[in-house]
């Protein structure tokens, strides 16, 4: 350890955790990166291609893996972080196996959990064969084959936005931000793989907030003939041919719509992770009304926790895309270093 080198524990080895660990190590600090899964990478591991430019997710995975290839980083995998305690000038991070790591600071990057689509019972996920999630569709893209449960190419696919987001019934008022553009990206990918297919997106609002998102949305309509219907699906069922039947209110046409689908994709949103929740409860860290970690200030303290020497990075504070997650992780590193230098 160099003279001015400090030891920081990074809890969570997804995009934010890997970027934070890499940035800290680059600055000469020693990092313990703790990831509960067997491999770092988080949800990105399941993604095939990224919006808005269809960049292969592997490129970002490669970047992040290179980022943590640093002798200053020790990676613990298959183990979670149970509790963080601040005392004196140190923090003690207790892992789920009981190991305690003393460090100078900690960054929490415990990320998000995908909404469990079974909670929206009316969509029949886990019951009807051809209802899948957006994450499962990515698996199909990776496998190079989008099919129905019985192996057929779907003639008509519906992508249902806001599943578990902006929905009081499931106690999630927040927007998950990335699902709209993910749906647009996935709709295009389906049309590329299955040019004969019809693809419908059922949305509440199209939130194309990021650079080039609006262009992607336009391209999906002009080039790929993706259909966008403004209305939420109220229920799904199957007919005698095991084809999905959905009911939607088309709010622009002002009338109800009933449609048969071969494949229905639920654009599942982001929720505070269970591991993050446990960590918050054990460590006495505040959470906001959206149940994510509450940061010190929405505008200029967005990486600060209410525990001295503990900082937040990425989607453990709110839904965000990969670009913003990486920026947020870098900001967390900046806050951490400022804290370490100022003690």
């Amino acid at each position: 350890m160099k003279t001015n080198s400090k030891h920081v524990v990074v809890a969570g080895g997804g995009v934010a955790g890997m970027e934070a660990a890499g940035a800290l190590a680059e600055l000469g600090h020693t990092v313990s990166l703790v990831e509960k899964e067997q491999n770092p990478g988080g949800h990105l591991l399941q993604w095939h291609a990224l919006f808005p430019d269809h960049r292969p997710a592997n490129e970002v995975k490669y970047y992040l893996n290179k980022r943590i290839e640093n002798e200053n980083i020790t990676i613990f995998t298959g183990i979670g972080v149970e509790k963080i305690r601040h005392h004196g000038n140190e923090v003690t991070v207790t892992l789920t196996d009981g190991t305690a790591i003393n460090a100078d600071a900690a960054i929490i990057a415990t990320g998000f959990d995908l909404f469990d689509a079974r909670r929206k019972e009316e969509y029949g996920y886990g019951i009807y064969d051809n209802v899948i999630t957006s994450a499962e569709l990515e698996d199909m893209f990776t496998a190079g084959k989008v099919t129905t449960a019985d192996g057929r190419a779907p003639a008509r696919v519906g992508l249902i936005h806001c599943v578990g987001s902006r929905d009081e019934k499931v106690n999630n008022n927040h927007c998950s931000k990335v699902c709209c553009v993910t749906a647009v990206k996935q709709a295009i990918e389906i049309r590329k793989q299955l040019p004969e297919s019809e693809v419908f997106c059922f949305y509440m609002d199209m939130r194309m907030y990021g650079p080039y998102y609006e262009e992607l949305y336009r391209e999906s309509q002009e080039v790929y003939n993706v259909n966008f219907i403004r209305g939420k699906v109220s229920e799904a069922s199957v007919n005698i041919n095991n084809r999905l039947v959905i009911k939607v209110e088309d709010t622009l046409a002002g009338r109800p719509l009933k449609m048969e689908l071969d494949l229905m994709v639920l654009m599942v949103g982001m929720e505070m992770s269970q591991s993050g929740t446990r960590l918050a409860e054990a460590s006495g860290l505040k959470r906001g009304i959206n149940r994510f970690f509450e940061t010190g200030d929405h505008h200029f303290g967005n990486n600060l926790s209410d525990l001295r020497g503990v900082f937040y990075a990425g989607t453990c504070t709110a839904p965000m895309n990969i670009t913003d997650t990486i920026s947020h992780a870098r900001a967390a590193v900046a806050e951490t270093v400022r804290y370490l230098n100022g003690r």
Binding site: E121, I127, V238, N239
Partner: protein
């Protein structure tokens, strides 16, 4: 279709139903349209299952239809319901068994309202006392009567004389189940299986040998919908809602429909007659109508009760072919005979004659 997914939901939405000692509140329309159903429920409970069920002739309508028709305000209906609770309190009963799904929704809504707005409970106590001098205790449990039959479905299965199966082939009957909207759509936690995949009737049908049809319009309203029917000008709504369901279930060739709400059973029965008369269309196999049974009638058949005692002859869609399929001997000539042998009024133009 993945049964495990449904089973997970069914396991999630379970509720406590007491073992015994029920105070029974009847339904205005069930005892009018299906005169045998409530009687057979009581008989099954008392004679077949050995349960204690108390009735009080002083209990009244819950006024639910008036409430949903916007002519009875909440303050009034909650006082009426409080009076029913007062009768139960007076008789020493803490478990309410409710015949009607509309009433079940009303009772549930009122109890939930009182829980969240205790001042309204106090106001209701005051109103009831001023009007009648009565007081009441909140019930320890409320259950729809179908919940109770559901709870004892396996015991009924053990006593069954007849299965829900084709006696010739042994194949299960194909059954459409219809759950009244007010059973669980307002408060999913109060219904077995919740709102989207209710299990209350499926559990009975499967325990008694039948097979359930899950068809696209399963969740759709039967067409009762209160104002759809109560306002004469809206009745086309009611009819078209039922028709939508019939057209959706038709390809599955169901042997019967069973409902836990008397309004649903009544409308799905009656509108088949109307559609047959007006358009000559029937939705069962080979141009027949699909018999619509109350769950009490279904339980009664399984336990071997005489279909004519159950009152099945007073349905618009007759069930003789269904009874034959189940191996139940029912003499058509006795359909409209009273106990003393005199002839009862015979409806004209019955479907499945």
């Amino acid at each position: 279709m993945q049964l495990a997914g449904k089973q997970r939901i069914w396991a999630e939405y379970q509720k406590e139903v007491p073992d015994d000692h029920f105070f029974y509140v009847r339904s205005c329309i069930r005892q009018t349209f299906f005169p045998g159903s409530e009687q057979i429920f009581l008989k099954i409970m008392r004679d077949d299952l050995g349960k204690d069920v108390k009735e009080d002739p002083r209990h009244t309508t819950c006024t639910g239809i008036g409430y949903h028709g916007d002519v009875v305000p909440f303050e009034t209906i909650s006082t009426v319901v409080a009076r029913q609770f007062s009768l139960a309190t007076e008789a020493g009963y803490k478990n309410i068994a409710i015949s009607c799904v509309t009433s079940f929704g009303i009772y549930t809504e009122i109890l939930e309202t009182w829980k969240h707005f205790p001042e309204l409970l106090a106001q209701t106590r005051d109103s009831l006392y001023k009007a009648t001098g009565r007081t009441f205790e909140l019930p320890e449990s409320i259950a729809h009567a179908s919940d109770i039959i559901y709870k004892f479905r396996d015991e009924i299965a053990r006593k069954a004389k007849v299965n829900l199966a084709d006696v010739t082939t042994g194949k299960p009957l194909k059954v459409v189940e219809h759950i009244g909207c007010h059973y669980a759509k307002m408060f999913p936690k109060h219904g077995f299986g919740g709102a989207e995949f209710p299990h209350v009737l499926i559990g009975m049908v499967e325990s008694w040998g039948g097979e359930i049809i899950d068809y696209p319009e399963r969740r759709h309203c039967c067409g009762f919908g209160f104002r759809q029917y109560l306002v004469q000008a809206n009745r086309g709504y009611s009819l078209s809602a039922s028709r939508k369901k019939f057209e959706s279930m038709e390809p599955y060739q169901p042997d019967m429909i069973v409902a836990n709400c008397p309004g649903c059973a009544m409308f799905m029965d009656r509108w088949q007659y109307v559609i047959k008369e007006s358009d000559g269309i029937a939705y069962g196999v080979s141009g027949t109508g699909i018999p619509v049974l109350t769950y009490e009638e279904m339980a009664g058949l399984v336990l071997g009760y005489d279909p004519w005692i159950l009152g099945m002859q007073y349905h618009n869609v007759q069930s003789l072919s269904l009874l034959r399929k189940m191996g139940i001997k029912a003499d058509p000539a006795r359909r409209f005979l009273a106990k003393d042998g005199s002839r009862l009024p015979e409806p004209a133009n019955l479907v499945n004659g």
